[in-house]
């Protein structure tokens, strides 16, 4: 790529960095990922069984993200919370860089690509989270960009894909979507002829093979099952809500894709890539970004083509003058530097029971905690084992059912407390169980605006 051609991706990256660096560290799963990574660093082995909970202690499990957890723990050990914020911003910048390159793969002019990428980057803000899932957000546009390059004739791009899948498979369970991309391009290549098909099929076989080189795989089958039957009680697994800001942008991309397809048509590749991703996006909010990213080159290219059809005699865009380019680049760079300076240096723990930590350390017995606070407790109060936490899979379905029966005060709630010999409960005050336990005479050991720690009398 020529230096001038790099300006747009670099500006997109700097813009994403500038926004991402200032986002508070708030993800509830960040803590248990950090704790897991730290455990692996300390013990020099992969964490394969539960060491954090009282309910599934010692039971084998896998979240398929061992390398991602290690990377996060190393970054944290080196740079602390500020280091995590900068690392996240760098990953968001990498995603935006790849997305900007991707957006012009179908020949879109700069202005069209810029408009579409800006919305896609703003949208992706919802997925700039401090956990291994962010690697998937970066690797998805990278792999897609490489696949487009390979389709355009770059064999070197194709060779890079299997090793990337190998790394991805160990970083995060979302690698299955990378394999799906390679499969989609292979199917399309098959339709174009044998000479196109063989290299892609080879890359697919190699990628699938490499994905098995993972000591703690979550598995494609597990990912597929998760996608087909998402656990709806987790907010990011809920159906997309297009009345929300992120859902609205997603809806805009869907309508733009549908409208442009009806006007301008497309190619088989668009169908094999976009249709499965749209289905995936409609299944759960956490998957929206994949469709938005994948639709970017199509919407940018066909949108500009439609514009030219509607305004064939419109003034063509002139290239941005060199001095102005440099000025714009410097402006974005300055924004990125300013954001790096203003990055958060501590996590935003307003929604967590910080005020209960001291009391928890002096308490004893089985603790029943809010699902969303499990990771926080694993990290801050490792001496108290959690009842449930964001790892989900080890607790599914039996422990989660018991947990929900208890906190929602179902008829068997007392049986659940007896079954697990619960001695303390750390809940939001509005939870029915918290209200009932107070009335039953459980002692308030600590209390804040958003939490109450109750002890059995």
């Amino acid at each position: 790529m020529k230096p001038a051609g790099l300006l747009f991706p670099l500006c997109a990256a700097a813009g994403a960095f500038a926004i991402a660096a200032t986002v508070p560290l708030v993800d509830p799963d960040m803590y248990w990922h950090l704790a897991s990574g730290q455990w692996m660093l300390d013990h020099h082995e992969i964490l394969r069984s539960d060491v954090f909970s009282s309910t599934v202690a010692g039971q084998p499990y896998s979240v398929g993200e061992w390398l991602g957890e290690l990377v996060f723990a190393v970054v944290f050990n080196v740079g602390g919370w500020a280091g995590l914020a900068i690392f996240r911003a760098l990953l968001a910048a990498a995603a935006a860089f790849a997305l900007a390159g991707l957006s012009r793969r179908r020949g879109a002019p700069l202005i069209a690509a810029l408009l579409v990428v800006a919305w896609a980057v703003v949208f992706s803000k919802t997925r700039w989270i401090d956990r291994p899932a962010i690697f998937t957000l970066v690797l998805f546009p990278v792999v897609l960009d490489l696949l487009y390059a390979a389709r355009a004739g770059s064999r070197r791009a194709l060779i890079l894909i299997p090793p990337l899948i190998l790394v991805w498979a160990n970083l995060h369970g979302g690698y299955a979507i990378g394999l799906a991309l390679v499969l989609a391009f292979t199917v399309e290549a098959a339709a174009r002829g044998r000479s196109e098909f063989v290299p892609f099929a080879s890359a697919l076989v190699a990628s699938v093979g490499f994905s098995f080189i993972d000591p703690e795989t979550f598995g494609v089958a597990g990912a597929a099952a998760h996608a087909i039957a998402p656990p709806r009680f987790i907010s990011e697994e809920a159906p997309p809500d297009i009345l929300e800001p992120a859902g609205l942008i997603f809806g805009g991309f869907v309508l733009a894709t549908l409208g442009l397809a009806m006007f301008c048509g497309g190619i088989l590749l668009d169908a094999v890539v976009l249709i499965p991703l749209l289905w995936l996006a409609l299944s759960a909010q956490r998957h929206l970004a994949f469709f938005v990213f994948a639709a970017t080159p199509y919407v940018a290219a066909e949108g500009s083509r439609l514009y030219l059809r509607l305004r064939p005699h419109g003034t063509p865009m002139r290239p941005v003058p060199r001095r102005l380019s440099i000025a714009i680049g410097m402006l974005f760079a300055a924004a990125a530097v300013a954001s790096a300076i203003g990055r958060p240096s501590t996590p935003d723990e307003q929604s967590y029971p910080r005020g209960a930590i001291a009391a928890l350390r002096t308490g004893s017995g089985t603790l029943l905690n809010e699902y969303d606070w499990g990771g926080f407790l694993i990290y801050h109060v490792p001496e108290r084992k959690v009842f449930v936490d964001g790892r989900l899979f080890p607790f599914y379905p039996a422990v989660l059912r018991d947990y929900r029966d208890a906190v929602e005060l179902q008829p068997d709630w007392k049986d659940v407390l007896v079954k697990y010999d619960v001695r303390e409960a750390l809940l939001t005050p509005a939870k029915p169980l918290a209200v009932a336990l107070r009335e039953d005479g459980w002692r308030v050991r600590a209390e804040g605006q958003n939490f109450v720690l109750l002890a059995k009398p």
Binding site: D241, L243, L255, L258, F263, C264
Partner: protein, 465 residues
């Protein structure tokens, strides 16, 4: 007569007959019936709450007075069987027009069949016995008239004015019909159609007719605000593609996208006649369907003809034209069919509503005991109908009547949130009729509220000690 019209009529007879076999069980049916009956008895509109303790006397409108009066009249005339037959008729009308619209763009039954079936199955979401059934029937009817006027003869276009006048008084979703008309008007101007002035005139007249309701302009704004708002009512949640209706809708949406991406644009343009019209229709209605799952049927009715018309172009199938059949032959075939369908419907229609989801066993006790009662939201309508002497706390009139603070009180109480005692005390609640799994029911039992009546696993009636 076109063979496709005959086929649509056959499908309507079959689906309508099928619809008659379901027992009435919609939770909102009961308060609509009670409201309609009140208006028939009093000879005036019901514009104030007379059914609840929490909003007694408060002015409100659900914008469906005529629909309620029709339902109540039918019920008075023929009981539950008559309501089953009314549902069958409206579902049949809806199916007829859905099928006719699809067959306009895909006259070959083999290609049209699956999209029609998908649209019909998704429309089952609206088969509940309440005024929305009128919208289910009128939406595809208006769509069919508009398509006929746009691509065929415009002679029926003026029928939209009386249709919209009646629809606006029957049910609030008339706004969906207005939206259809607006899209067509915009499209004829963009396409510079020779009928653009006619469409504009009819559209303006239809819009004016929609204002001739007791609510006037506010009926339109109420419906528009409804489309934008989030709600706790399940049917107003975002579309979920892991549900059967959501999955079918996703198939239609993805089928549309597949056809649009892969088919030859020129061939597609010929098939759909005006891509810009379908963009204007599919866009807004897809958004509405994704936002509120109860609107999925309208979106499906838009997408089904696109899929039916466009998917065969992927295989480069030539467009077919609908064969015609002699009118007499069609009548001779259809009259016996509809006669048989009517007889089967009358025989098969359930004689009573399905009350398995309601606390029917609690009504005797409720009549004898002093309230106020705190009841499940979904059972409010049933109580209004069956135990009118016991006003409800909340019911399916939802946001049209109950402000957020009353709904909040209800949720605080049944969810056992902090302050639930205050709600019970402030409202003087003496009876609680809830599902046994509600946190409040569990807690009150443990607090010593005696069980007055109960059906294990279904409902429990508790009385303040």
């Amino acid at each position: 007569m076109r063979a496709t019209t005959v086929l649509a009529a056959v499908l309507a007879a079959l689906v309508g007959t099928l619809a008659s076999t379901f027992a009435a069980n919609d939770p909102d049916l009961f308060w609509h019936l009670a409201s309609g009956a009140w208006m028939l008895d009093h000879g005036r509109l019901l514009d104030r709450d007379i059914y609840s303790t929490t909003m007694a006397g408060a002015p409100y409108s659900v914008g469906q007075w005529l629909g309620e009066v029709v339902f109540a009249s039918v019920y008075r005339g023929g009981g539950w069987v008559a309501l089953d037959l009314l549902r069958a008729a409206l579902v049949g009308i809806a199916t007829f027009f859905m099928a006719r619209v699809v067959l306009r763009f895909q006259p070959q039954p083999a290609w049209a069949f699956l999209p029609i079936v998908a649209a019909v199955l998704i429309s089952k979401f609206l088969w509940g016995d309440r005024p929305q059934l009128f919208s289910l029937a009128l939406f595809p009817a208006v769509f069919d008239v508009l398509l006929g006027a746009r691509f065929g003869s415009p002679r029926r276009l003026w029928t939209l004015v009386p249709i919209m006048l009646v629809w606006a008084n029957l049910h609030g979703a008339f706004v969906a019909g207005l939206a259809l008309i607006v899209v067509f008007v915009v499209e004829v101007w963009i396409a510079r159609s020779s009928r653009r002035r006619l469409f504009t005139l009819v559209g303006a007249a239809a819009a004016a007719a929609c204002v001739i309701t007791p609510s006037g302009l506010s009926a339109v704004s109420f419906a528009a605000s409804y489309a934008r708002s989030a709600s706790a009512v399940v049917e107003e949640h975002p579309a979920d593609i892991t549900s059967p209706a959501g999955l079918l809708f996703a198939v239609l949406l993805l089928g549309t996208l597949l056809a649009a991406l892969v088919a030859d644009p020129e061939m597609l343009s010929v098939r759909l006649r005006s891509p810009i019209l379908w963009i204007g229709l599919a866009g807004p209605f897809t958004v509405l369907g994704l936002a509120h799952q109860r609107l999925l049927p309208y979106a499906a009715m838009i997408l089904a003809p696109v899929v039916a018309g466009a998917v065969p172009t992927l295989m480069r199938r030539a467009a077919a034209t609908a064969p015609t059949v002699p009118r007499l032959a069609a009548v001779l075939a259809l009259v016996p069919l509809f006669a048989v369908a009517a007889v089967v419907s009358v025989v098969a229609a359930p004689r009573a509503p399905d009350l398995s989801a309601y606390p029917a066993g609690a009504t005797t006790a409720l009549r004898q005991l002093a309230g106020p009662v705190l009841n499940e939201y979904d059972w409010g309508g049933y109580l209004i109908f069956s135990v009118p002497e016991q006003p409800t706390f909340v019911d399916g009139r939802g946001a049209a009547l109950f402000p957020p603070d009353v709904i909040g009180e209800f949720e605080t109480a049944v969810g056992l949130r902090v302050g639930y005692h205050s709600v019970l005390d402030a409202r003087g609640i003496r009876l609680v009729l809830l599902r046994p799994s509600r946190a409040l029911a569990v807690a009150l039992r443990e607090d010593g509220w005696p069980v007055v009546a109960e059906q294990v696993g279904s409902w429990v009636l508790l009385q303040r000690p």
